[in-house]
Symmetry: D2
């Protein structure tokens, strides 16, 4: 694995690395860790990467790595830069034969997203978009239960992503995360909805297998001086007739990161919360509430495949992230060995999630500006 971005001070780069290497299947062999060559070098040293493979730019990295022998060069690249440096390196990497892991949201806008989709289809490279939360085994279990019809037809979906870290004008201080995430030139047209709203949206579509068709958005810039939305609520219509509510906010003062979802069908419901990710609640009329627990034998095969330890030993965010890396790398490895990947390895978020995520952002912004109640979800 080579990494683009993720130098000192980055939040998500560290997570990517831990997630990638923890299973002992992936090694960080090269990187362009910063657009500043000195910083990149320093990060490379800190990360024990061979100095000859710490590059000054992602362009250099892709070109030089391509020239290395098969058994030496990186197999894929992990891109963990701010949003405005997603499309170009991903494009370049795939066009030069490398598989790609990319942080979300996928691109700066929907046009880029669609172009990237074409590149994926043309180059036939594996592409993983790190919507972390669908890596949790009990999120996968929820999807299995919905697919198996345990809830009956889905009627209602409530998904909420509450954060509080942008409750004040943090971008006014030196905070690196706050600065780029609230800067339209780096984040794109959406703030909160792009950063975490897309996670909530992706989670809802992933578990239910449904597609959003119409939305009604009410976005806000709560903190004075901010340039992008930091709070919002969105009413949703799905392709089976179900409806939903998505709430995402970064100004819910005191909240951490408790993404949570509740899905109701004719015969019952499931609930999952990031606060207690190793439990899945199942409810149904006139039955005791069931709590399905990670690491148990009664879970579906896909849930068990994405779990490392026996029940009662909590796994968390890094492991969920690692599940995407592991599944992705199992596919890459299979391809290298000329084998077919198992179906459950293909269960990581990909280019279609990315395109829909960008469409979600654009639809939400459009709806928020509209006086019409409903806006089409356009792809």
């Amino acid at each position: 694995m080579g990494m683009i971005g993720g130098g000192a001070g980055a939040f998500i780069g560290v997570i990517h690395r831990m997630a990638a290497i923890m299973d002992g299947e992936i090694e960080l062999v090269c990187g362009a860790f910063s657009s500043d060559p000195d910083k990149s070098k320093k990060s490379g040293r800190d990360l024990n990467v061979d100095p000859t493979r710490v590059y000054n730019s992602y362009q250099e990295m892709i070109v030089k790595e391509k020239e290395l022998p098969d058994d030496v060069r990186m197999d894929f690249v992990s891109i963990v830069t701010p949003n405005h440096v997603h499309f170009e390196p991903a494009k370049l990497a795939m066009e030069n034969g490398f598989h790609v892991v990319l942080d979300k949201p996928m691109t700066l806008d929907l046009t880029e997203a669609k172009e990237l989709k074409e590149i994926v289809q043309k180059t036939r490279k594996y592409f993983c978009l790190t919507h972390t939360y669908t890596g949790y085994p009990l999120v996968k279990e929820a999807r299995v239960q919905v697919a198996a019809g345990r809830l009956g037809n889905i009627r209602k979906i409530l998904v909420t992503y509450p954060q509080g870290w942008l409750s004040s004008f943090l971008e006014g201080s030196q905070d690196k995360q706050a600065s780029w995430r609230t800067d339209p030139s780096k984040s794109g047209i959406a703030g909160c909805m792009g950063d975490i709203g897309t996670h909530a949206f992706n989670l809802a579509e992933y578990i239910t297998g449904l597609k959003v068709t119409q939305i009604s958005a009410d976005l806000h810039i709560i903190v004075e001086g901010r340039k992008l939305d930091d709070d919002g609520a969105v009413l949703l219509k799905f392709d089976n007739g179900a409806t939903g509510v998505l709430v995402a906010s970064q100004v819910m003062a005191g909240e951490e990161n408790n993404l949570n979802i509740k899905i109701y069908g004719e015969q019952g419901g499931v609930k999952w919360s990031h606060r207690e990710p190793n439990s899945l609640i199942f409810i149904a009329p006139d039955k005791p509430v069931e709590t399905w627990r990670a690491g148990t034998k009664y879970l579906s095969e896909v849930a068990r495949h994405n779990t490392r330890i026996t029940a009662g030993h909590p796994e968390g965010y890094i492991e969920a992230f690692a599940n995407h890396y592991r599944n992705f790398s199992l596919c890459v490895k299979a391809q290298l060995e000329g084998e077919q990947p198992k179906e459950q390895w293909l269960d990581f978020p990909g280019i279609e999630d990315g395109v829909r995520g960008m469409a979600f952002i654009e639809s939400v912004i459009a709806s928020s500006k509209s006086q019409d109640k409903w806006t089409e979800f356009t792809m």
Copy 2:
């Protein structure tokens, strides 16, 4: 106390009686328990009410009780009939000198509600509308904390009332509750939004002290054949610029009755849930989460006034209900004795809550039919 409605098979009448009498201050002395005289008589016997004061109709009760000596006749009437039998008995009672406790929603429509308000103002009778949830001591504590500025300016309010008991076409069976609550002639123009949406709305306004000014509603009839909404989501704007989301549903299969609310301000948030009513969660940036507990000494005076037992002995729904009855009856008693009520006794939901509740219902229905995103909350 005299009671109108609440005969055999009623759900809420029993609760009203337990709530009224448990503190030993109120006695059930008469009643018109059913529009069917025989049923009324039977209920009277079951409830150990003096047979001479079990009446065939509420009209008869009000007239006859009025003729009794001061120290014998009932001081107030509790009306626990379906919505279409709210206005007339309440009007008659007040116009004949009786204070009134009335179940919610207050009337069949906003016109009746406004007329009732005039009657209350004219007759100067005490009027209590039993929005149970504002009777919980920690709901009151939440209100105190908001009023004291502990959260700063309020920015966001999320309130959800999930029920599942109408997930199937229960009104097709013999279920008495399901039948009248889904019948427009008895419930009015709203189903779910009238029955429980009004509770959620009232709770939000009660705790924050804010008023809703605009709404955007998306209501549904999920169960085929049903005549009134059984599920809905409403976006809210409040008079201080805060926004909110209200979700109420009676078709969330497997849900019980877990009304819950989250309120966020500049400096922190509070959360309360009917599932664990004796706790109030307070969060703020960079501070441990606080759980305020019922029955403790550190609570506000108003919270302690509405608690009966020391910390750790859970109080529930009947006690919350009883708080409204106790405060109401303390006011009635003070008036009988020519004294001023204490301010904290006046803290029970009244005519203004009722009018706003009916306005909420009408606004929600109007918005749901409109293609405009926002509809004015009209009184």
Copy 3:
């Protein structure tokens, strides 16, 4: 109902009254509310009791009430005095034909307890000892599940009753509760173990249907100057070979009243906690955790009989207490009407619980003083 004790300043008397009257089946008609006649009179006035039936002493009350006509005199007496005034009034009441509700622990010592048992047997009066916690519907459900063999043979029982209110030398202040409960002349030979250890012990035997046969106790007086144990742990052996641990403490600073129990058998376990009394957790190997909820239709008949409201409307401590009163009064009423009580009405704690509770206290104190690991549980 007549009441002995429970005047101004009493904690438990108020609870007894609310619990007794809330169902509308029991009326407080007379009382000797204090050993101080003036205080008794004042309490009577506050409680709206006919002044001619507010007595100067319990002796007077029992004698005078006995002389009243059948349809006027009290049917039973509720004794809510400190422990040293339990035996005599209970004895006198039963010997004069009155049924008795008595607060726990039953008497000052085991000798009194056994004598009281003889009186109950001789007079054939109904006798209820208010071990509140066995009045909760989900405690009853736990008992049903154990009896039905859902857990298999019981292997292990963990019961803990943590309180913190005596963490400091509260009896040094004017606190009435602290004073008598730490005074051997009023409480008997045990402090914490008598006050709350007996509740834990009773709960364990009630749910499992097992009997303790041997104990190993480690009691402490943690707070300097205190005269009775305020903290302790007891190892238990049961008559089927199961073992257990009972912990009770009144010096766990910050704790409220969270009595909790976990029972494990060959095939699964149940857990109940006073903190969330409307849930019963059932666990078993390789199955999702089940949470059984109060007010649901799938509960046993006995649990449903002891519930007042539908699922999701929490009931609490007063209702649990009220269940004992209701079952007791249903039995009394049946006897008055010459009928047989239903079996589920007989499900309230009685004389045998009281005798075993006193035996528990004496065994625990004996064991605590002994250097032998095990002490026989002697009756």
Copy 4:
């Protein structure tokens, strides 16, 4: 890092490897993964270890690695074999200049433990015993709060480790874990108390800084045919006069792995549970309950040092494990570079924990056989 044990089918070896490598500071460079050379080779291949450094025995590994150049050979060895293969490889490794990470319980008996202590002292090697649970940041926070006097003098400690996986005679099947853990020749004289009782004991001493001085144990073999204890309760006395209760069981059918501890002092208490490891509950009289959360800024420096992600992104068991590895390797690295380790790096369980753990096992077994209530905790 070299590894001894941890070949195919091992439970804990996988965890050790993920924990060791996830931070990118430690690399698995060699191993003797099984006493069966073929299995060792196969494991080496699966783990991508250089085949020339996959050894047939730990003896061979230690000898051969020692001969490698400084910058090539392993710096430390991680021993993850069953208990009976702990002492010899640890001894050999340290005597040949390698630091050691060793799984718990440390040795087969106290004599070995003491001898190992002498070797550690003589060779001055770093020695880490993987009592996982003290690696959790909020366990460390609890220790900080106790040390800072936030609870006042400690009075009471309750620690419980409930498991259910040995509820039936699993060792009768092919289960590898069950087989060696219930076999005295491989586990030593204790079963449950050695396997998980030592964790509970270590956790109690770690957080409080107190030492157990006397115990009273009641151990059981619940499952017929089993050779070692599978369930037990132990009363504890600590060196400051505090008392405690330790319960550990592997036959609590349906339990997972919810180690939990409650510590009470004069002024408050702390509670931590493995079920929700990212929260620490702090309680005190007349104050709201506080929940301290992982990843927040208000935590102590030591807690923050042992956390990888910001608040609300749950970390779990592997990360707790990784904390021990990271602190240990930071010390090893400092020594290699001739520097002093920071104090917080030295915060991993070591030889003294190991000796006390073995003393705990022997004392518990001795007490369990004794008719005396109290047995000295002997070292």
